[in-house]
């Protein structure tokens, strides 16, 4: 089928881009490492300081950015399907914000264990999800998906306010930590942090891929979906929850990063991956490419200073959002 060839092409090109950008991101930095040395260092041979830079600093950072990008893109793709809205994504829906509040609150209480903070982010995301759906239900009387998006914007704004309040009350040394959550950064990449986010992306992403065919049907609307044999409420609820947790896992690893979940699934669809399973696979690949590239820009553009990763993705994402909005209004 013609559609299948488009998808394979998109995935193949994406995989090649991923490899290229990953190697480039490991090579480029304060110390420039030639490609040949990168490859040698990855296998553990060569100059020990180069091996340390490549294996302990840049490789985990690149892999973390890749996992976070893939997770955000897949989460966004799944949320767009359940909410029937190509503008949905975890950041705009307030889900990421809720995750950040969960983690920052624990931080303010003196918790510093990263695993506990990750759990806090999961809890915060779940609470934000509940809040968003509750607001939409109270206001609209039904699960109107546009209301859900607007409720998300409100909860997101509230989350930012909550973080600022916690921030204002914190000793200076904690302020930097709280700011980190709001700006997004892959700078604190460590192997354990990478392992946590990689596991979450693998498990939760696999669940979403498993349910992806339900999404093809859910996106048609409640009644058509029921007519085609989907248990609508159950299918929508579990996708929403798991997509939220996937976003929470990325927030726990790299803070608030917007627009990746918005831009990438729409790009994947434009490349011909229209059904949800291929769309989310292609999204995962390009999400990783986008965030590794964004992180490379964030740490090199004004080196030695680092730009907030969330700001870089917003600069890329906002024009795209406006374009998509215009298309939707047309």
């Amino acid at each position: 089928m013609r559609g299948a060839r488009e998808v394979w092409l998109a995935a193949g090109v994406g995989a090649a881009l991923l490899l290229l950008i990953a190697v480039a991101a490991i090579a480029i930095g304060a110390v420039r490492v030639p490609i040949a040395d990168v490859l040698r260092a990855l296998s553990g041979s060569g100059d020990t300081s180069v091996v340390a830079i490549v294996r302990d600093l840049r490789l985990p950072r690149v892999l973390l950015a890749g996992c976070v990008g893939a997770g955000l893109a897949m989460s966004g793709g799944a949320l767009q399907g359940t909410l029937r809205n190509p503008l949905a994504e975890p950041y705009l829906l307030g889900v990421s914000g809720g995750a950040a509040v969960g983690a920052v609150l624990l931080l303010a209480l003196g918790v510093s264990d990263p695993s506990l903070l990750t759990l806090g982010a999961f809890g915060g995301a779940a609470a934000a999800t509940l809040l968003v759906t509750a607001i939409a239900r109270v206001v609209g009387g039904s699960s109107d998906t546009r209301l859900l998006l607007m409720a998300g914007v409100v909860v997101g704004a509230f989350s930012n306010a909550a973080i600022l309040v916690v921030l204002a009350d914190s000793p200076p040394e904690r302020i930097r930590g709280a700011l980190w959550w709001m700006m997004g950064s892959a700078a604190d990449a460590t192997w354990p942090a990478l392992a946590r986010v990689a596991a979450a992306v693998a498990i939760l992403g696999a669940l979403l891929l498993w349910w992806a065919r339900d999404l093809d049907v859910l996106v048609l609307g409640d009644e058509p979906a029921a007519a085609l044999g989907v248990d609508v409420d159950r299918a929508a609820r579990r996708v929403f929850l798991v997509a939220s947790w996937l976003a929470a896992a990325t927030v726990a690893a790299a803070g608030l990063i917007g627009f990746v979940g918005l831009v990438v699934p729409n790009l994947a669809r434009a490349l011909g991956a229209r059904r949800h399973r291929p769309m989310m696979v292609v999204s995962g690949i390009y999400g990783a490419v986008l965030l590794i590239a964004a992180d490379l820009i964030a740490r090199t553009l004004r080196a030695p200073a680092e730009l907030p990763l969330g700001a870089v993705t917003a600069i890329i994402g906002v024009p795209f959002f406006l374009m998509r909005l215009r298309k939707l209004a047309a």
């Binding site: 065919r213 049907v217 058509p224 029921a226 085609l228």
Partner: protein, 278 residues
Amino acid sequence: MTTSHSLRFDRVTVQYPQRATPALNGVSLSACCGEITAVVGPNGSGKSTLVRALLKRVPLSAGSMFIGDTNVADITPRDFAQLAAVVPQREEPVLPLRVEEFVGLGRHAHRAAFGAMRAADRRAVSDAIERAGVGDTAHRRTDELSGGEWQRVRIARALAQEASLLVLDEPTAFLDIAHEMAVFELLDALARDGRTVLLVSHQLNLVARFAAHMVLLNNGQVAAAGTVDDVMRGEILERVYDWPLVVTRDPAIGAPALLPLRGRAHGSKPTRGTKGKP
């Protein structure tokens, strides 16, 4: 078409919360094989609630629904979609697919979560596309279709479900005469194949031509039911639709046809500036 299933509503009552009166109040009806059974009635008479109830999107306060001998309440959504193909009223292509992908969604209930399209699935899709007469749109995207093509593509998706029971909620809304007739003729042919077709429609005159049985709903209750001649009667329709009308004969095939009365006489000029004045 193998044995076709009948559809039966037995004293079905649906009460929406925050509404004084039930949307459906003890509605019984049945539709069977090889025929079109039409459900008609004014706006808000409960027609669409009937379809929503069948899809279990609203709970029944009383009564039950049966497909063949099986209570719909006991059927999983997946089994339901294999028995009955429902084309709901409203649907928009939010995230567009190619037409063949879209029609392929009709196979959802036949496939495992990771199962590939088997030969039987592909055949059902291509048969459905051909039967609905939308072969020339197969490679186009669902957001690029005309209104008439879109409705027929949705019917094709229902046909791909290979269910012997077909339920359609106003499939010709917004269609011009030629496209509307094409859809009615398609439904007629599908019923002649032995399918049970339940059609919700506002088009009384076309329903009178094509349906074998009619059910007239009013305020959630069955106001009249039976053959077309039983239901298409001036005194009943006038009362239910609350508008003066006459029932005559359709010159094409002699079926009963309804003409609403009042409004200005042919050739007369519209009256202007009299509104609100004695």
